[in-house]
C-alpha cells in the first residue's frame, strides 16, 4: 500500500495528544521530533525539515488553541498549514497551445511521462505531439515511438540522426500543427557540464512555455542540488513526481519545489499511459497525514464515468437511485470501478473511515477483490438477458447451467447472487433517504473516527 509510514508516524505522534486541551513544552518537543523523523524518513531535505519544524514549534507554543479545539487538532492544523505553505498551489497548466520541455536525471521516467502528458492533453481536447531528442540512450527512439502509439499522439524522432538540435529543429516544424508540443530530452545529471550546455542550447531553440523537472519519488537528498542546478541552467517551471505507486514518499519533490520556487504539476503512478494525475496539494497533504485523498478520487471517478458514458450513452448513474437494481447495474458499477484503475490505487485515495483502517486492509484482500470482479463478469456473460434483469428468477437448475456455461463453481454463482442482494439492499436504503437523512448519515460517519479532522480544512 502506498499510504506509508510518513502518514502513520505523523498520526501516531499526533495521537499522543488526543483528548488533551493543552500541550506541555515536553509533549510538543516529542511531537516535533516525531514530525522531523517522519519528514526526514520521507526524503525531505534536512534544512527544510528544520525550518519547517521550527515554525511549527513557534506557532504551537505561541498560539492558544481556539476555544473548544483540542490540542491535537490545533497542532494538526498548524502542521497542515505549514505544509500547505511549503507546498503551495499546484502548477498552473493552462489548456492552450504550448511547448513543454521535459528534463531530469537518467531513469527518472521522462519518456513515459512524455507519453502520459501528451495523452492527458489530448483527453482535454488538445492535439499533442512528442519530439524525442535523446540520441544518446539506445532504444529511446523506439520506446518513445511505441509509447506515443499507445497514447495515440503524434511522434517525431529520427533514429539515424545523432544531432539532437537537428532533430529538434525539424521536429518542431513537423509537429507545428499540434496544440501541445512535448520535447523529451536525454537523461542527465546536473553536474555534467557538457550535457547542461547542450540542454541550454535545446532550451534556446525550443523557447518552451514550460520546462518541467521530472523527479523520481524515490530520489534522496540529492534532489536539492539537482533541482537547484537545473533551475539555474534553464529555469524550471514545475515538477512532476514519477513512480509514486511505489513506497517512496516523494519528499525530494518538496525540496525541489522549494529550491526552484515552483510547484508540483502532476503525479505519475502506474505503468499505463493514463496513469497521470494532476497534482492536488490538499489531497497530497491529506494523504501525507494519512487521511486519504478525496478530491483525486472524485476526479478519477468522474473520468471513469465519463469514459464509460461515452461507450454506454443510455446509462445514467443516477438511475441507480430510481427503479430496480439489476445485475446489469451491478456489472456497470464493477466495470466503472475497473476503469478507475487498479483497485489498490483507488483504495489508497479513499479516506479511511476509522483511524488507520485503510492500512489494515491486507494486500491479498485487494487482489482477491480484483480477481472476483473478473469472475463475476465471466459468470454474468453466461446469463440470459432476462436473468440479468430479473436475478430472482435464477433457481438451482439455472445456477447449475450458468456455472457449467461459465466454467465456474456453483458456489461462485451463488456468491455473486448474494453479493447482488446485499448491494440491492444498500441501494434501496439510499433510495428511501430524503435530503435531510443523507446529511444526518454523513454527520454520523464523521463522528465515527478518522474523518473528524476534515472540517478543519474547509
Amino acid at each position: 500500500m502506498v499510504l506509508g509510514d510518513l502518514g502513520n508516524s505523523l498520526r501516531e505522534s499526533l495521537d499522543k495528544l488526543r483528548g488533551k486541551s493543552r500541550i506541555s513544552q515536553e509533549e510538543l518537543s516529542e511531537v516535533i521530533k516525531d514530525i522531523q523523523r517522519a519528514l526526514l524518513g520521507a526524503d525531505v531535505d534536512v534544512e527544510l525539515v528544520m525550518s519547517l519544524s521550527n515554525s511549527i514549534r513557534e506557532r504551537a507554543s505561541d498560539q492558544e488553541p481556539p476555544p473548544g479545539a483540542s490540542a491535537s487538532d490545533h497542532v494538526l492544523k498548524i502542521v497542515y498549514e505549514e505544509l500547505v505553505n511549503l507546498i503551495g498551489d499546484s502548477s498552473d497548466i493552462p489548456l492552450n497551445s504550448q511547448k513543454i520541455l521535459l528534463v531530469g536525471l537518467q531513469g527518472s521516467g521522462k519518456t513515459t511521462t512524455a507519453a502520459k502528458l501528451a495523452r492527458w492533453f489530448s483527453t482535454k481536447g488538445l492535439s499533442s505531439s512528442i519530439i524525442q531528442t535523446d540520441t544518446f540512450r539506445p532504444g529511446a527512439y523506439d520506446q518513445t515511438k511505441q509509447m506515443a502509439e499507445k497514447a495515440e499522439v503524434l511522434f517525431y524522432g529520427d533514429s539515424s540522426s545523432k544531432d539532437p538540435f537537428e532533430i529538434l529543429q525539424s521536429g518542431m516544424e513537423a509537429t507545428q500543427h499540434t496544440d501541445i508540443q512535448i520535447i523529451d530530452t536525454a537523461g542527465r545529471h546536473a553536474l555534467e557540464d557538457d550535457l547542461i550546455t547542450e540542454l541550454q542550447k535545446i532550451d534556446s531553440i525550443v523557447k518552451p512555455d514550460r520546462s518541467l523537472l521530472i523527479l523520481d519519488a524515490a530520489l534522496g537528498q540529492g534532489a536539492k542540488d539537482q533541482a537547484k542546478l537545473f533551475h539555474k541552467a534553464i529555469g524550471i517551471d514545475g515538477v512532476i513526481i514519477t513512480k509514486f505507486d511505489g513506497t517512496a514518499k516523494g519528499g525530494g519533490a518538496l525540496t525541489a519545489i522549494h529550491e526552484t520556487n515552483t510547484s508540483i504539476a502532476f503525479i505519475g503512478a502506474g505503468e499505463t499511459v493514463q496513469d497521470l494525475d494532476r497534482f492536488e496539494p490538499n489531497g497530497f497533504i491529506s494523504r501525507l497525514l494519512g487521511m486519504g485523498d478525496l478530491r483525486q478520487l472524485t476526479e478519477r471517478l468522474e473520468r471513469a464515468m465519463q469514459e464509460f458514458a461515452d461507450e454506454d450513452d443510455d446509462w445514467d448513474p443516477m438511475s441507480l437511485l430510481k427503479g430496480p437494481f439489476t445485475l446489469l447495474d451491478m456489472r456497470r458499477q464493477m466495470r466503472a470501478m475497473n476503469k478507475m484503475g487498479p483497485l489498490d490505487q483507488i483504495l489508497d485515495l479513499m479516506p479511511s473511515l476509522g483511524k488507520g483502517s485503510l492500512n489494515k486492509i491486507p494486500a491479498d484482500a485487494v487482489d482477491s477483490t480484483k480477481d472476483k470482479l473478473v469472475t463475476y463478469d465471466i459468470i454474468m456473460n453466461s446469463m440470459t438477458p432476462s436473468e440479468l434483469k430479473n436475478p430472482r428468477t435464477i433457481g438451482a437448475s439455472r445456477i447449475e447451467r450458468i456455472s457449467r456455461g461459465s466454467g465456474t463453481s456453483e458456489d461462485e454463482v451463488r456468491e455473486l447472487l448474494s453479493q447482488h442482494r446485499n448491494m440491492e439492499k444498500g441501494i434501496k436504503q439510499m433510495q428511501g433517504l430524503g435530503q435531510g437523512d443523507l446529511k444526518r448519515l454523513m454527520k454520523r460517519m464523521q463522528k465515527g473516527g478518522g474523518m473528524d479532522n476534515l472540517d478543519l480544512f474547509k
Binding site: 536525471l105 531513469g107 534522496g220 505507486d245
Partner: protein, 336 residues
C-alpha cells in the same frame, strides 16, 4: 563521491574532540541521561572518573556526547542513510563511546575513528565477492540475472558487466528478459552490437523465462561461459510483476542474482532491496549513478537491509565505468 558521508563523519570527530579535549569531565557533575534506554555505563561514579583522571584517561559521558550524536544523526540522514539504519549506527557509536576511557596519549581522534569504523562495518557486509573463483567453480554456462526497479540502469550495467567479463577472458551471451518495456530489445541490441555479443530476444509481450531458456541453450551449444540476463524494471509494489520475478528465479534458478539500484535513491532504497530479496534472493548489489554527486547513504542502507556485498559502483556512461567495491576500503575512505 560520497563526499557528504565523509564530511558528516569528519564533523563528528571534530565535535567530539572539541567537547572532550578541552574540558575533561568534571567529577562533581553527574551525566544526565537523555536517551530512552538506560544502560549501566551511564552512571559513571565519581570514583571511576577520579581514578581515570589520575591514570591520565578521560571518559566520554552521555551529556557531552548527546549534541555531537544528534548532529551525526542528522548528517547521516542528509546523506541518505535510511532512518532505521541511522539508529543502529548511532546506538552502536553511543554504546561504544559512553564510559570508554582513553589514554591522553592515544588521542581522541583515533578512539572515535575506531568506534565509527566498527559501527559502520557492523551495518555493512564485510564479505567480498571473488568473481574469478566464482566463475571457475561453477560449470558453464553460468547464469547471472540483473534485477531492479525501473530506470535504475540495469541494462547499461549489464553491458558494462559483459565488458568486465571480457577483460577477465570470459565469453558472454546477452539475453533480454525484459519483454515488457517498449524499446528494451532495441536498447540491448545497440549494446550487444557495440560489444560484439550475441543477443537473444523474443517479441515484446513474450515470456521472459523462455528467452532465458533459449539463451542458456545457445550458450551450451556454442561453448559460451556466461549468460547475462536482463529483466524488466519493476516497482516492488507491483504484485504481478514481482510474482513474475519469483517465477523467473524459480524456473531459471540463476547462479548469481545481481540487484541493481541507484546510489541517488533516498530512504526508500531499503524497502526495494528487501522486497526484491524476498522474491529472488540477491547475491550481490551494483549501485549506479554514483557520478551524480551522491551522498552514498543508499550503499549503507541496502547493504544493511539484505546483508549482501556491494559488488560494483557504476560511475559513468562508458563501458569501463564499473568500479569494484570493497566495504573495508569504503569505510577507510570515508574516515580519512
Amino acid at each position: 563521491m560520497f563526499e557528504s558521508l565523509k564530511s558528516s563523519l569528519k564533523r563528528f570527530k571534530k565535535e567530539i574532540k572539541s567537547t572532550f579535549e578541552d574540558s575533561p569531565p568534571e567529577p562533581d557533575v553527574l551525566p544526565v541521561s537523555d536517551t530512552k534506554e538506560e544502560t549501566s555505563s551511564e552512571t559513571i561514579s565519581f570514583k571511576d572518573k577520579a581514578s581515570s583522571l589520575a591514570q591520565g584517561k578521560a571518559i566520554f559521558d552521555q551529556k557531552g556526547l548527546s549534541s555531537p550524536l544528534h548532529d551525526l544523526e542528522l548528517s547521516l540522514l542528509s546523506s541518505d542513510v535510511e532512518i532505521g539504519v541511522v539508529d543502529v549506527i548511532i546506538d552502536a557509536v553511543r554504546n561504544d563511546l559512553v564510559g570508554t576511557t582513553r589514554k591522553i596519549t592515544t588521542g581522541i581522534d583515533s578512539v572515535v575513528e575506531e568506534t565509527l569504523k566498527k559501527a559502520l562495518l557492523s551495518v555493512l557486509d564485510e564479505s567480498t565477492f571473488d568473481f574469478k573463483s566464482f566463475l571457475s567453480s561453477n560449470s558453464p554456462p553460468v547464469v547471472i540475472i540483473f534485477i531492479g526497479v525501473n530506470g535504475v540502469g540495469k541494462t547499461t550495467t549489464l553491458a558494462k558487466f559483459a565488458h568486465f567479463l571480457d577483460s577477465m577472458g570470459y565469453s558472454t551471451v546477452l539475453a533480454n528478459g525484459d519483454t515488457y518495456r517498449a524499446g528494451a530489445n532495441e536498447q540491448l541490441n545497440v549494446h550487444s552490437e557495440a560489444l560484439g555479443k550475441k543477443l537473444i530476444t523474443h517479441q515484446q509481450g513474450g515470456d521472459p523465462t523462455a528467452v532465458l531458456y533459449d539463451a542458456v541453450e545457445y550458450a551450451k551449444a556454442h561453448g559460451i561461459d556466461v549468460v547475462l540476463c536482463d529483466t524488466a524494471g519493476r516497482l516492488h509494489t507491483n504484485k504481478d510483476l514481482m510474482s513474475q520475478l519469483e517465477k523467473i528465479n524459480r524456473v531459471v534458478s540463476p547462479d548469481l542474482t545481481i540487484f541493481v539500484d541507484e546510489a541517488i535513491a533516498g530512504q526508500d532504497a531499503i524497502n526495494r532491496a528487501r522486497d526484491f530479496n524476498e522474491m529472488a534472493p540477491i547475491n550481490g548489489v551494483i549501485l549506479t549513478k554514483t557520478d551524480a554527486d551522491t551522498s552514498g547513504g543508499a550503499a549503507i542502507s541496502i547493504a544493511h537491509a539484505i546483508k549482501k556485498p556491494i559488488l560494483f559502483l557504476g560511475s559513468g556512461q562508458e563501458y569501463e565505468d564499473l568500479e569494484p567495491f570493497n566495504s573495508i576500503t569504503f569505510v577507510d575512505n570515508l574516515l580519512n
